[in-house]
C-alpha cells in the first residue's frame, strides 16, 4: 500500500511532467535560446546534485568523485548512441545503470574507509576514469567524443529532474531514508541496532551514481560532444560545494544552491573577468557567515511553513 505522502508525490510528478512538456511545446520555441540553454544546464546540474545530496547530505559519505559517475554515464550513453544507434532515452537509462555499477565498485571500499580517506579514494576513482577515457581511442580520447545527436532539451531534462526529485524525496521519507540518516549521524550506534550499514552506504552510492549517470548522459546529448576534461575532479568539487551550500540533510536546499550557482556565472557575464573571483568570495563568505548552508537540515516546505526542525 502506498502512503498518502507517496501518492501525493507521484500525482505531483504526473502533473509536473505535463506542465514541463507544456512549457517545452508552447513556451520554449519563443524563449531566447541563450536563457533556455541556461535553464537546461541548471536542470542537468540539479540531477547530479540530488544524487550527491543523498550520498553526502543524508548518508554522510564524503564523495569527491561524483563527476566520475557523470563521465561513466555520459560516455556509456554517447558510445551506445554512436556505435549502436540506440535511441537517446534508452542510452540515458543504460548510462545511468552503468554509473550505478561504478557506484558499487566505488561504494565497496567504503566498507573499510571513512571520512577523508573515502574522499581521497573517490577522488582517485574520478582521476582514473578520466585517464582511461583519455587513452581510449574509440571514445575519442582527449579530443572528445563528437557527432552525438543533440537530443537534450528542456522537456527531457526536467522530466528526469522530476522523476529523480520525487523518487528521492519518497526514498528519504521512507524507512530506508531513516537508515541513511542514522548511518550519517552515528554509524556504530546504527550497526548496534542490527542494521547493515555497509549495505546502506553502498545503496546510497548506487542510487546517487545512477542519477549522476543520467545527468552525464544528458550532458552528452546537450551539445552533441563530450570531453574528458568536463568531468574532472574540479566538477566533483563544485557539486560538493552546491550540496554543502544548500545544506547537508536537505534535498531542496542543494537544489536551490545548484540553480543559483549554475546561473550565477552567467548572470555575472557582463563583468566576465571578475566573475570567478566573485563566485569564490561568495562561497567563502557564505561558509563563514552561514555555516549550516542555505536551509540547514530543513526542506523548503518546512521553511515556508515556519516549522521548527525536529531536534535530533
Amino acid at each position: 500500500m502506498m502512503t498518502r505522502g507517496a501518492m501525493i508525490g507521484w500525482a505531483a510528478m504526473l502533473l509536473g511532467i505535463t506542465i514541463v512538456w507544456g512549457i517545452q511545446v508552447f513556451a520554449i520555441p519563443w524563449t531566447d535560446p541563450y536563457y533556455a540553454d541556461i535553464v537546461v544546464r541548471v536542470g542537468m546540474n540539479l540531477l547530479a546534485v540530488m544524487g550527491l545530496a543523498l550520498v553526502l547530505g543524508f548518508t554522510g559519505q564524503f564523495s569527491l568523485g561524483h563527476a566520475g559517475f557523470m563521465a561513466v554515464g555520459a560516455y556509456t550513453a554517447g558510445a551506445l548512441s554512436l556505435y549502436a544507434h540506440v535511441p537517446p532515452p534508452v542510452c540515458l537509462i543504460v548510462g545511468g545503470c552503468a554509473a550505478a555499477v561504478a557506484g558499487v565498485v566505488v561504494g565497496l571500499p567504503s566498507l573499510r574507509l571513512t571520512g577523508d580517506y573515502l574522499a581521497v579514494v573517490t577522488l582517485g576513482f574520478n582521476g582514473i576514469i578520466i585517464v582511461l577515457i583519455q587513452n581510449a581511442e574509440w571514445l575519442g580520447g582527449a579530443k572528445g567524443l563528437i557527432g552525438l545527436p543533440t537530443f537534450t532539451n528542456f522537456g527531457w531534462t526536467f522530466t528526469f529532474v522530476l522523476l529523480g526529485g520525487i523518487s528521492l524525496r519518497n526514498l528519504i521519507a521512507s524507512g530506508q531514508g531513516r537508515v541513511f540518516e542514522a548511518v550519517r549521524d552515528n554509524e556504530i550506534a546504527t550497526r548496534s541496532l542490527g542494521i547493515d550499514t555497509t549495505r546502506a552506504k553502498v545503496t546510497a552510492f548506487v542510487i546517487g551514481a545512477f542519477w549522476a549517470g543520467i545527468a552525464g548522459g544528458l550532458v552528452a546529448f546537450h551539445r552533441g560532444s563530450i570531453f574528458p576534461t568536463q568531468f574532472q575532479y574540479d566538477r566533483s568539487i563544485e557539486l560538493v560545494a552546491m550540496v554543502v551550500l544548500g545544506g547537508t540533510g536537505s534535498l531542496s536546499g542543494p537544489l536551490i544552491a545548484s540553480s543559483v550557482l549554475t546561473a550565477l556565472p552567467e548572470l555575472l557575464r557582463p563583468i566576465a573577468q571578475y566573475r570567478m573571483v566573485i563566485y569564490s568570495l561568495l562561497l567563502i563568505g557564505m561558509m563563514i557567515l552561514r555555516p549550516t548552508g542555505l536551509l540547514g537540515a530543513r526542506e523548503l516546505t518546512e521553511v515556508l511553513r515556519f516549522r521548527k526542525p525536529v531536534k535530533a
Partner: protein, 299 residues
C-alpha cells in the same frame, strides 16, 4: 640498466618536489584535520613571486649566487606570509564549525587565488634559467642534470632543518602536542592559534621552495600549475599516512619513483593514473597509509 638508473634519478628529483609540497598538506592535516586545498595555490603563487623577485633583483639577467639565494628565501618568506594570511582570514573564523565547512572554505580560497592570479598575472609567463643547467654523461643513455642535484640538495637541507624544528625546538614540541590532542595542548597552556599559524607558515614556505625549483625546471609558469602538482602531493601525503611527517616524504618518493618508472618502462599516457591506482591499492590494504597510526574508532 641505464634506463633503470635514469628513471631512478628522475623519480627521486620528482619525488623531492612532491615531498616539499606534501609536507604542507600533512602538517596542516595533523593540526587542523583539514585537507588544505589552498595549499596548491600557495605553491603556484610562490612560482609567480619567484619570477617577480628575479626581475626585481636582476637575477633574470645576471644570476649570481647572492641574488638567486635572495629569490628563493624571498619566495619562501612570501609563501609563509600567504599561508598565515589564509589561515587568519578564512580558516580561523571557522574553528568552531564543522570540518565540511572548513573544507568548502578551502576550496573557495583555492578558486579565489587561482582566478585572482589569472586576473593579475595573466595566463602564462616564461621563467628565466636561474640555476646552472649543466649535464653530465655518466654512461651512454644516463645523464645527470645539475637541476636534479640542486633539487635533491635543497630538499635534503630543508628536511634536516624541518626535522630540527619539529623535534628540537619549543615550537616543534608544541606542534606535536597540538597534533596529538588540540584540547589537551590548550589546557597545558599552549597558544593553539599561534601554533596553527606557525604550522601554516612552515608548510607554505616549503611549498615556496618547491615552487622555485619546479619553475626553474619547467621554464614556464601558469595559474593552473598548482592544481595537478597539489593533487599529486596530496595523494603522496595520504599514501604515507596523512599527519605523519616522515610518511609524507616516503609517500612522495614512492609516488615520484612509480610515476617515472611507469613512463620509462610502460607508457607515459598512464602516468597520471598510476598515482591513483597506487593510492587505492595501499588504502585498501592499509587504510591509514604506510606510516600512519591506526586509530581505532571510539564510541
Amino acid at each position: 640498466m641505464t634506463v633503470f638508473f635514469q628513471q631512478l634519478i628522475n623519480g627521486l628529483s620528482l619525488g623531492a618536489i612532491y615531498a616539499l609540497i606534501a609536507l604542507g598538506y600533512t602538517m596542516v592535516y595533523g593540526t587542523l584535520q583539514l585537507i588544505n586545498f589552498a595549499h596548491s595555490e600557495v605553491f603556484m603563487m610562490g612560482a609567480f613571486m619567484s619570477l617577480y623577485l628575479a626581475r626585481w633583483t636582476g637575477a633574470d639577467q645576471n644570476p649570481t649566487v647572492a641574488s638567486v639565494t635572495l629569490v628563493i628565501l624571498g619566495t619562501m618568506a612570501f609563501c609563509a606570509a600567504l599561508g598565515m594570511t589564509i589561515e587568519r582570514l578564512a580558516y580561523r573564523p571557522l574553528r568552531k564549525s564543522g570540518r565540511l565547512n572548513l573544507l568548502i572554505t578551502a576550496i573557495g580560497v583555492s578558486m579565489l587565488l587561482r582566478n585572482g592570479t589569472l586576473l593579475v598575472c595573466g595566463p602564462l609567463a616564461s621563467f628565466p634559467t636561474l640555476l646552472p643547467a649543466a649535464q653530465w654523461q655518466l654512461a651512454p643513455g644516463l645523464t645527470l642534470r645539475s637541476m636534479d642535484v640542486i633539487t635533491l640538495a635543497v630538499t635534503l637541507v630543508l628536511m634536516v632543518l624541518l626535522h630540527h624544528i619539529v623535534e628540537r625546538t619549543q615550537m616543534g614540541r608544541a606542534m606535536r602536542a597540538v597534533s596529538h590532542s588540540r584540547d589537551a595542548a590548550a589546557l597545558m597552556g599552549i597558544n593553539v592559534d599561534r601554533v596553527i599559524a606557525f604550522t601554516f607558515a612552515l608548510g607554505s614556505s616549503l611549498a615556496g621552495a618547491a615552487a622555485f625549483l619546479r619553475a626553474v625546471d619547467m621554464h614556464k609558469i601558469d595559474p593552473e600549475m598548482g592544481t595537478n602538482m597539489g593533487l599529486k602531493a596530496f595523494v603522496a601525503a595520504v599514501l604515507g599516512g596523512i599527519g605523519s611527517i616522515p610518511g609524507a616524504v616516503v609517500g612522495a618518493i614512492l609516488l615520484g619513483l612509480s610515476e617515472t618508472f611507469v613512463s620509462g618502462y610502460l607508457t607515459s599516457t598512464y602516468r597520471d593514473a598510476i598515482a591513483f591506482c597506487l593510492l587505492i591499492i595501499i588504502l585498501l590494504f592499509r587504510p591509514s597509509g604506510i606510516l600512519g597510526k591506526h586509530a581505532p574508532e571510539k564510541v
